[in-house]
């Protein structure tokens, strides 16, 4: 019995630990104060921007530590917080409105380390301060909008096919289309099935009235919800960029919720205002046949609706929506040749096609821009959800002069209005209103305090455990301590390597706990070796038996703990997830260091020798 490890096993241990150390290293360098520059839609951050900024900062006497241009994002590092503030102001002034300039803390990882993918652990909000929002998308509203769009589709499709219908209305069961006879119901059903196959049709005729009922299929409802969520995430992401926050997080959670995390933000009121401003825009034709007097008292044809105008008075608009704000890709406040404010709009390709078709057919007719906004009314429903109020206003009515394409202008606004409309449109419209269902703000000082507390607990616990192991197991205790330290370094290394892993306060707790529990593997092995020695085995045999017998125990014990960690990860949110991640990584690395790592040292030191006693 010689207890020799083959070369490859020793090498593997060395390589694993070396890689762990290497990737843990970036955490030692701390952070630089930096200013982050990101372009909003119409602009671009280029090498020219970079050299301009360098020139501006030099002229103001601000020393730049390093400036990096990556993924259209410029990061200017300076030496201290005061310089950082000065630099931010100088850059913001020099660049103007088309750029977002934000304060940031950038890891001060050396370039050579960064080049091979080294980066420090990301800190959760509880450790660096900031705001966390959990937002819920109003899916009822998203579905209602989609149903309205379907009703408009049905109207035009049936008209085009010259299938006569007596009326269309929404009922709780779905969209009800009324016909004059049973035969037409069948014809319409067959026709509509070919046009909109995402609806479920049924014959709802009763009492001598002939109805076709169209309801959204389950798959379609799912699709609509999914799209609404995705669209809202994109929009919120754009808005967060407008806020000028460094490294924001916008992420879906479950089927209808979105998490927004804004590190370093303290002004929650402004953040909420921008995030929650659920505005969208619709283009509709003005119903020019409507009688103004009747409309004033609310009497209009079934295909039209009355809306207030921003400049006073009312407008009668067709129910049919020609184009929604979803297709808008850009919007800038500009001026026409008479210096009147206007908003220049760019549409995506699909929107361009739709718009081109509808404007071609309606030259010379008035078109209205309807602005829709959902505001948090500040009140709550009995079930705790926030009551939203819907504000709808016609912001402009313009006569279509020519066939319009992907680029056109909206006029009839005041200067300020043009600016805020452009901002809202540029940031994109929320397809359905969102409400904030959870909000957490952590002050930056509390974050720093949390790190300090966690580190203190870690150092205190670690010191006692290390001393105990050394006293109790002597040479073997020393080896176990090496394994424990290597394990900690590896946890940090792996945490830094995994892109999604974030260190949170419970995460630190998880690491501290790992320190206490990681020695378990070694304790099991060493106790076993002692038993074997007491039973009269030779030293080499005792070492071999000790490791061999303890293995299945360690494996069983750790696998079950790993399972609970996995369940925690699956159901947990935020901080709990952070804890589960560090626990899982800790279990994996501690098994490795306790079983393979210590064995390799033990074999190197004592393997292959005839020993009478063992320092254990």
């Amino acid at each position: 019995m010689l207890n020799k490890y083959p070369m490859w096993k020793n090498l593997m241990v060395i390589i694993f630990i070396a890689v762990g150390c290497f990737y843990a290293m970036p955490n030692l360098f701390g952070e630089d104060h930096a200013v982050q520059v990101v372009a909003t839609r119409s602009a671009e951050v280029t090498v020219t921007t970079q050299s301009n900024i360098t020139a501006v900062l030099e002229s103001k006497g601000i020393a730049i530590k390093r400036s990096e241009l990556e993924n259209g994002q410029l990061l200017v590092r300076v030496s201290d917080p005061e310089q950082q503030l000065l630099a931010k102001e100088a850059i913001a002034e020099a660049l103007g409105n088309n750029y977002t300039v934000a304060l940031n803390l950038a890891p001060a990882t050396p370039e050579w380390l960064e080049a091979v993918g080294g980066s420090p652990m990301k800190l959760g909000l509880d450790l660096r301060g900031g705001v966390h929002f959990l937002m819920e998308v109003d899916m009822g509203e998203a579905l209602r909008k989609m149903e309205e769009a379907k009703i408009a589709d049905f109207r035009s499709q049936l008209r085009e096919e010259k299938i006569r219908y007596a009326g269309i209305r929404k009922t709780p069961k779905g969209i009800e289309i009324k016909f004059r006879d049973a035969e037409t119901v069948g014809v319409a059903e067959r026709f509509l099935k070919t046009k909109s196959n995402d609806m479920v049709y049924s014959d709802g005729s009763r009492d001598g009235n002939f109805f076709l009922v169209a309801d959204m299929s389950d798959a379609y409802i799912k699709q609509v919800k999914e799209e609404a969520l995705q669209q809202n995430i994109t929009t919120i992401r754009n808005r967060v960029n407008e806020l000028g926050v460094a490294e924001p997080v916008v992420q879906r959670q479950g089927a209808e919720r979105i998490i927004v995390e804004l590190p370093g933000v303290q002004d929650t009121a402004r953040a909420k205002e921008i995030l929650g401003a659920t505005a969208s825009i619709e283009f509709r034709m003005v119903d020019d046949k409507a009688d103004p007097a009747a409309a004033a008292s609310g009497r209009v044809s079934a295909a039209s609706e009355v809306y207030p105008r921003r400049d006073g008075g009312i407008a009668v608009l067709r129910k049919e929506v020609m184009l929604t704000g979803d297709h808008i890709t850009g919007a800038q406040p500009t001026f026409d040749e008479y210096s009147r404010p206007q908003v220049a709009i760019n549409l995506d390709a699909k929107g361009g096609n739709i718009f081109s078709n509808v404007t071609k057919d309606n030259i010379g007719k008035p078109m209205a821009t309807l602005f829709i906004e959902y505001k948090d009314s500040g009140l709550r429903n009995p079930d705790g959800t926030v009551k939203m109020t819907k504000i709808e206003e016609v912001i402009s009515v313009a006569t279509i002069q020519a066939r319009l394409g992907r680029n056109f202008v909206i006029t009839g606004l005041e200067h300020k209005e043009a600016q805020s409309l452009a901002l809202l449109l540029r940031a994109g419209a929320l397809i359905a209103p969102v409400t904030i269902v959870e909000e957490r703000t952590i002050g930056p000082s509390l974050g720093a305090e949390n790190i300090q507390n966690g580190m203190q607990a870690m150092i205190f616990g670690l010191a006692i455990v290390l001393i105990f192991m050394l006293v109790y197991y002597r040479a073997f205790g020393f080896i176990a301590n090496l394994a424990l330290l290597a394990n900690l370094v590896m946890v940090v290394g792996v945490m830094s390597m995994i892109p999604g892993a974030v260190l949170t306060l419970p995460g630190i707790a998880g690491m501290v706990l790992t320190v206490g529990m990681a020695v378990d593997g070694n304790v099991l092995i060493y106790e076993r070796i002692r038993e074997e020695l007491l039973a009269g085995r030779s030293v080499q045999q005792a070492i071999h038996e000790g490791y061999a017998n303890a293995f299945s125990t360690i494996a069983d014990a750790n696998i079950t703990t790993f399972m609970t960690a996995l369940i925690l990860f699956a159901v947990g949110t935020g901080a709990v997830k952070g804890f589960a991640v560090t626990l899982m990584i800790g279990i994996a690395t501690s098994m490795f260091t306790a079983i393979v790592g210590t064995r390799s040292i033990v074999n190197a030191l004592w393997g292959g020798k005839r020993l009478k006693t063992l320092s254990i």
Binding site: E438, E439, A457, I464, A509, V512, A557, T560
Partner: protein, 315 residues
């Protein structure tokens, strides 16, 4: 070699098993009674509401502070110190028709009227529905964890041992919950994480003992199940004491130095480690014996090959 426990003499742990398991049962009943009558002091994560944490520049008199919280927004606030007499935590329940921001702003108005230099350190608002969903998820997580473990242990060991380990885990979870209920400690998300960690830790302990029981059943030809279990517990005792010791040390470090936000987590672990360690002996092992565990149950199933009893054919 300096040792905490000598393995030469087997300690008869199970001699006290009957009275101790009765105490355990009483503990579980007491926990249930407390859970039924006092309930759990659910934290913000589960109830929804608003929490504002403020650091004053000087110690404050909570009664004066409470007296000033009379506006519509701040009514019904629970005011308490934590950590130091300068740190104050306000908890406000969800109120119909009142905006959570206004609640936080109302609190800060009162706070600043008493102390201009007070800092708002943390504001949290959770909608009641989110909280409800979380509570359901949390309860589900514990149950799923227990079922997964039951399956794993039945597969790796034997159903009697699996039943014993799950009973021990349930015991630990219930007693820990009971402690939170009796002392009316706040139960938030980190406590739930702590509770699941207790499940993991306690299981760790149980598995180590079980592993030895299985091994000893196969190794020792003589001895009643009680003797073998006693022997196994004695052999693993020094490991149990050392690991529990080191884990306790770091958990105490967390409890004392980790700060208020993980206080609940540390408390749950502290309690769970104590209960979990003794339950691996007096609940898990004892129940397995009561269920009639014996040597045959531990024998690996020998698969008889077809034709093994036939004489080999000559080529």
């Amino acid at each position: 070699m300096f040792q905490l426990f000598s393995v030469n003499n087997t300690v008869n742990f199970l001699r006290h098993a009957a009275p101790i398991s009765i105490i355990s049962m009483l503990l579980v009943i007491a926990s249930f009674v407390s859970l039924g009558t006092k309930g759990i002091n659910w934290g913000l994560d589960f109830t929804g509401g608003t929490v504002v944490e403020v650091e004053f520049s000087n110690p404050v008199d909570l009664n004066v502070l409470r007296g000033k919280l009379t506006s519509v927004e701040t009514e019904g606030a629970v005011v308490q110190n934590f950590g130091s007499s300068r740190d104050v935590l306000f908890r406000l329940p969800v109120r119909e028709n009142i905006k959570s921001d206004l609640q936080a702003i109302g609190i800060m108005k009162v706070v600043n009227s008493m102390d201009d230099n007070a800092i708002q350190k943390r504001v949290e608002f959770v909608g009641p529905q989110v909280g409800k969903q979380l509570a359901e998820q949390g309860g589900l997580a514990v149950i799923v964890a227990l079922i997964c473990i039951l399956i794993y242990v039945s597969f790796r060991f034997e159903w009697r041992l699996a039943a014993g380990s799950v009973a021990a885990l349930a015991h630990d979870v219930i007693v820990t919950l009971g402690v939170f209920s009796i002392l009316q400690l706040e139960f938030d998300l980190t406590v739930l994480a702590g509770l699941l960690t207790v499940v993991g830790y306690s299981l760790n302990d149980t598995i180590v003992v079980y592993d030895r029981i299985r091994e000893n059943f196969l190794k020792m030809r003589k001895g009643t199940p009680e003797e073998i279990v006693n022997q196994s517990i004695t052999q693993t005792m020094s490991r149990t004491v050392i690991t529990t010791g080191t884990t306790l040390i770091v958990v105490i470090a967390l409890f004392l130095k980790g700060g208020t936000m993980i206080h609940g987590f540390a408390t749950a672990l502290l309690c769970g480690i104590f209960v979990g360690t003794y339950s691996s002996i007096y609940v898990a092992s004892y129940l397995a014996i009561k269920l009639g565990i014996n040597r045959e149950h531990m024998m690996p199933v020998e698969i008889e090959k077809e034709g093994a009893d036939q004489p080999p054919m000559m080529p």
